[in-house]
Symmetry: C2
Subunit: 258 residues, 2 copies
């Protein structure tokens, strides 16, 4: 928890109130903060800033001198479409994608997603995991999360409207590596035709895709890769090594941070 | 477990024997494999390949037709110096760095590393976590892992011999972003002086650092960053967002995969 986020309703003028059990425990045990100490806080959906602890009781912490002048960091211009993973890793995946600043998250069914995953009680706790991710990443704006229980109708009917730029699907057996894909994107920019100087400039400009499909354990089956290809979604790999879903998500999305 | 790795002593001619409880459980429960099925296997320190299941008992699995013709994937040319993390996350961090193909891992003390971490029984299980990482990433060559309990002598006396190329330290308050750092490295290459054409070529060549320091929760203190700077180790950030150690390691090292 690198900042404490509170809903707008918990603020009034320059004071605010914390009454979440997890936040109070963090302030007492991890930060060992006391009256008069300054906390890093933020308003959900609003700005980041600081406040001073006025009063601590077991049930609530009262804050004064609330100053919320810092805009949250920009979101990454990326939609992640993730095959619904095992419930056990769902929490960390949602947290990490939120902390990284992913704008849109779509949890989708895939051939290798077990049906039981869709019944997991973890799916009703997504807001909680998002809050954890925002407080980890020091951001206030929750990603949009949607669930798509049917792969084929989503890809055939909805994907075309969603791909605003370029889409890729992470696939160990993709024909192109991620860097080859990026090079191809650079080569087709119009600057290419404007002579050497322009080319040298454009070669530094990396055009990242705006949507990435990431499979869960076991990855995508050929049918899924082929259906995605019919919508212009290119399969790319990031080398011969097979990573845990969490590791793959972070390794892939790290590209958008730099 | 995307392959089953066995020590050299378990092979004889074209047969091999599995007697690890974890591997037998994986073959029975996850793969649900039976006599006559083909397994992806590898020899620790050797090649990757396949074998056919000859016989299954509760205590061992006998393999025949062992074929080990595939070289393991190349390692990433990177040494990761990681502030010893909480024991709870050590397993996943060692697994992930191994799966990613990190060549050398140095676990180091830092101001924010709790002394008790060095007494954790998890530290005696590193080989086990490495094996998990190799079987995840489909590799056979274990990374070299060393422990450095004293930060200052390591940085002052040993670091100069270890930095074969360029070193960076991941630090949210670093003056340069990772991409700015890479651009600087590109600009100082000699090709820069050979005119526009060479420049346009060299601008596509990314020179990645060969050593990266990554802090654990709470990151590095100023003194540590300054001491590293005296050895030419540049502080770089990957944006304003603060990531979990695991997420940061994967997001950072993802650069070497592409």
């Amino acid at each position: 928890m690198n900042c404490i986020l509170l809903p707008a309703a918990h603020f009034s003028n320059d004071s605010a109130q914390i009454n979440s059990v997890a936040q109070i425990a963090h302030i007492n045990k991890v930060l060992a903060a006391k009256m008069g100490d300054t906390l890093k806080i933020g308003q959900l959906g609003g700005n980041l800033g600081t406040a001073i602890i006025e009063h601590i009781t077991p049930e609530s912490i009262q804050l004064r001198n609330v100053q919320l002048a810092i805009k949250p960091p920009p979101k990454l211009g990326i939609t992640v479409v993730l095959a619904l993973p095992r419930p056990k890793v769902l929490r960390r995946l949602i947290m990490d994608m939120t902390a990284l600043g992913v704008h849109d998250i779509i949890l989708i069914n895939s051939y290798r997603t077990q049906k039981s995953y869709w019944q997991s009680p973890m799916l009703s706790r997504l807001n909680e995991f998002v809050l954890e991710g925002l407080q980890q990443g020091v951001d206030t704006i929750a990603p949009r999360i949607s669930l798509q229980k049917r792969f084929k109708p989503f890809v055939e009917d909805e994907l075309a409207h969603l791909i605003t730029n370029r889409a890729i699907v992470a696939h160990p057996y993709g024909a192109l590596s991620f860097s080859q894909y990026l090079q191809q994107q650079t080569l087709v920019t119009p600057e290419k035709n404007e002579g050497l100087l322009a080319e040298s400039e454009s070669s530094n400009k990396t055009i990242l895709p705006s949507m990435v499909f990431i499979g869960a354990e076991g990855g995508w089956i050929d049918y899924e890769i082929e259906l995605l290809a019919t919508q212009g979604c290119q399969a790319v790999h990031i080398g011969p090594r097979i990573l845990r879903t969490e590791a793959a998500v972070n390794a892939m999305l790290g590209q958008w941070l730099l």
